[in-house]
């Protein structure tokens, strides 16, 4: 993988004083090809898909079909109709929470280290419908097996955005299916960094966001097995979700359109597909390897400075993420100081308040790497961290 060549594809990395951007778990930069493809929609065929017969309508319909095919291929879905376009991961999870037909007393099982996106919808359902929400220890298959009995839905994060550790969702899916439960995987932090094959993993649903994988913001997808999607009720209803209607009745549209109410974010969909093509061209396996190398360098450097890393010290187990705390320093101080050196990292509870509160932690700083980051950037980061770490002594 030629990082120098990759960096040339990102306008923001080719200006004066380019940033050292280590906040990729939050959102990533977009390559010129993605921006170009989105501009192309607005400049050449800014129209509606599946409705209008004119040439612009036809063109955008074609692009939409191509985009859905690209996404389906990327995740190795059986059919294109198993891909539903959403706004983001959160909307995908809410779609399942509201359309799966969860009933009072049914159990939804999540890990104890879920993003609020995969916690709050279930807490809300517990209040409104009376479902039961239970948790197991993140990554602990033994605990998972203990809790799986009578569970209707397992909803788990694949890779944690706190420390970058990954759960064995293939084994979880197997156990869930043996216990007649369905499984939803939050792949927001894994899909951008490693190859995911939904059929090999045999998961029922998968959600992710485009903006974390070089795509536009406000764009995500839900993968669902066809037979499950077909049994699901509406999440939002309206334009394009029916084939016909009278004043008193309507004929529902087939999946996936049934779940794509109203005019869609066509530029976003087309841009997202282009981002997936870009990642495929680079090779996700190479991206994963590059991140591991950088994270090892970064983590080893931090450990030498006496900085405490969240999760396992072995960088290989943490993908491209290094969550850390510098002594008793407030993590926001670390990120603010690094910002003064043009280094962007994240600090706080990373929308996983529940886990931090349970572990009595005020938060953490987090450096998250991606394909365009370099060894030199890591070294500069460590040089500045050396000064910052001295403050904590």
């Amino acid at each position: 993988m030629n990082v120098d060549k990759i960096r040339k594809d990102f306008a923001i990395l080719n200006g004066k004083n380019p940033p050292i951007y280590f906040d990729n778990a939050c959102t990533t930069f977009r390559p010129n090809s993605v921006l170009g493809k989105m501009n192309e929609y607005y400049e050449q065929y800014p129209s509606c898909a599946g409705r209008s017969n004119h040439r612009f309508g036809t063109r955008v319909t074609e692009e939409l079909i191509k985009a859905r095919r690209t996404v389906a291929d990327f995740f190795n879905a059986k059919k294109e109709s198993e891909i539903v376009f959403t706004r983001n991961t959160t909307e995908g999870i809410n779609l399942i929470a509201n359309a799966l037909g969860l009933k009072k007393g049914e159990i939804v099982l999540t890990s104890d280290k879920e993003h609020n996106s995969n916690l709050i919808p279930w807490l809300v359902k517990a209040k409104s419908v009376g479902i039961r929400h239970e948790t197991f220890k993140f990554g602990d298959l033994g605990d998972f097996e203990k809790k799986i009995k009578n569970v209707r839905l397992v909803s788990v994060v694949h890779t944690s955005n706190v420390d970058g550790t990954t759960q064995d969702v293939k084994e979880m899916a197997k156990i869930a299916h043996e216990n007649n439960a369905v499984i939803l995987v939050d792949a927001a932090q894994s899909a951008p960094h490693k190859p995911i094959d939904v059929r090999k993993l045999d998961i029922d649903f998968l959600v992710c966001s485009g903006h974390k994988m070089l795509g536009p913001s406000g764009m995500g997808i839900l993968y669902g097995k066809q037979e499950l999607l077909e049994k699901m009720d509406y999440f939002m209803a309206g334009g394009e979700t029916v084939t016909n209607s009278t004043y008193t009745s309507f004929v529902p549209e087939k999946v996936p359109e049934k779940f794509e109410a109203g005019l869609q974010n066509y530029a976003g969909i087309i841009g997202f597909a282009e981002a997936l093509r870009y990642l495929k061209k680079v090779g996700l396996g190479d991206v994963e390897k590059h991140e591991h190398e950088l994270n090892k360098r970064l983590s080893d450097g931090l450990l030498k400075l006496g900085v405490k890393i969240l999760g396992p010290e072995d960088a290989k187990l943490r993908g491209g993420v290094a969550g850390f705390n510098v002594g008793k320093m407030n993590p926001h101080e670390v990120s603010l100081m690094l910002d003064s050196y043009n280094i962007a990292i994240r600090s706080g509870m990373h929308c996983v308040h529940s886990w931090f509160n349970a572990n009595k932690l005020a938060g953490s700083a987090r450096a998250s790497l991606y394909l365009y980051n370099t060894k030199d950037e890591v070294d500069f980061f460590l040089e500045k961290m050396k000064d910052i770490a001295k403050l904590a002594r």
């Binding site: 407030n330 926001h332 101080e333 603010l336 100081m337 003064s340 000064d387 403050l391």
Partner: protein, 302 residues
């Protein structure tokens, strides 16, 4: 965090020009309320200030460490200094409004609000060192009186006709004399060599005075101060319908020159080092003064 007490006015001011600072001002505003309620600041503004300044000081690690470690103490120091500064400014403004001098009554120290007047730092002088004016040594020989001769109260002024500060002092001085008929002015001319035509003007005024028109001539010199030249003095004499021959004779007289020299010597002997210098009772004011300052000194006599 107390630092928001300083941050609020600073960012509010900068916020007039930039949204970025308006947001920071809003954070400071929230932070201030929480600080007053003895709650920790939850907007992160204190962290931003602490972290950004620490990062800027990293070029000198010991300084950065000290700033980081003692940020809370430093914040208190800055806040106390800021409050003292605000209080001092308020006191200065009060003095300025009430006394025309931000340093308070009877002060001759420098005042930023009124540097050329109330402070008395600006005057015409040939002296590099300032001396103490000794009121007891004031010699009124040769002084010209303006106002009622028998007025019980007096202002003594040492002036120079070519000194623009003396000219500047005229307005407030004449106003005081007009408003207080029981006050008279003793004017003593102290011509300074550094000014062209100062000696000639002083002699000409004395000679006009011999014909009973000292003050008319005095006012005319100041009115045309910027354009004085060799022919000005005779022209003024003509304008005031003086006897030119008598005027010329007076100018040539050694006694006129001697009188002026004597006045100057007396002034220097009393410690006068610049013009205008006002002596009102025991109060000595150097430099052009505001009306209120002169009035206050006069009232002190009454």
């Amino acid at each position: 965090m107390v630092i928001c007490i300083i941050a609020l006015p600073v960012f509010a001011l900068l916020g007039l020009f930039s949204l970025k600072y308006r947001i920071l001002a809003w954070e400071a505003f929230h932070c201030l309320f929480r600080t007053v309620a003895f709650k920790p600041c939850n907007t992160g503004l204190d962290l931003k200030i602490k972290s950004k300044f620490t990062a800027k000081l990293m070029w000198f690690p010991a300084l950065a460490r000290g700033f980081y470690k003692y940020f809370a103490v430093l914040s208190w120091i800055f806040v106390i200094l800021a409050l003292l500064s605000v209080a001092g400014t308020g006191y200065g403004l009060y003095n300025y409004i009430k006394y025309g001098n931000c340093n308070g009554p009877d002060s001759s120290a420098f005042c930023i609000f009124n540097p050329t007047r109330a402070g008395g730092e600006e005057q015409c002088s040939t002296f590099t060192q300032k001396t103490e004016v000794d009121v007891k040594k004031v010699n009124l020989t040769g002084a010209v009186v303006r106002g009622a001769l028998y007025a019980p109260y007096a202002i003594v002024e040492y002036g120079c006709y070519s000194c623009h500060y003396t000219k500047e002092a005229e307005s407030a001085l004449n106003q005081v004399l007009a408003n207080y008929p029981n006050v008279k002015l003793f004017y003593l001319d102290v011509p300074l060599d550094i000014h062209p035509y100062s000696v000639e003007a002083g002699e000409a005024a004395i000679c006009a005075g011999e014909q009973g028109k000292y003050w008319e001539y005095h006012d005319l010199i100041f009115e045309r101060q910027e354009s004085l030249n060799d022919s000005s003095f005779r022209a003024f004499a003509n304008e005031l319908k003086l006897s030119v021959s008598a005027f010329d004779k007076c100018l040539d007289a050694n006694s006129t020159k001697a009188q002026l020299e004597m006045q100057r010597d007396n002034a220097f002997a009393a410690g006068v080092y610049g013009t205008p210098t006002f002596i009102i009772g025991k109060t000595v004011l150097v430099g052009p003064q505001e009306y209120e300052v002169l009035e206050k000194a006069v009232k002190k006599l009454m």
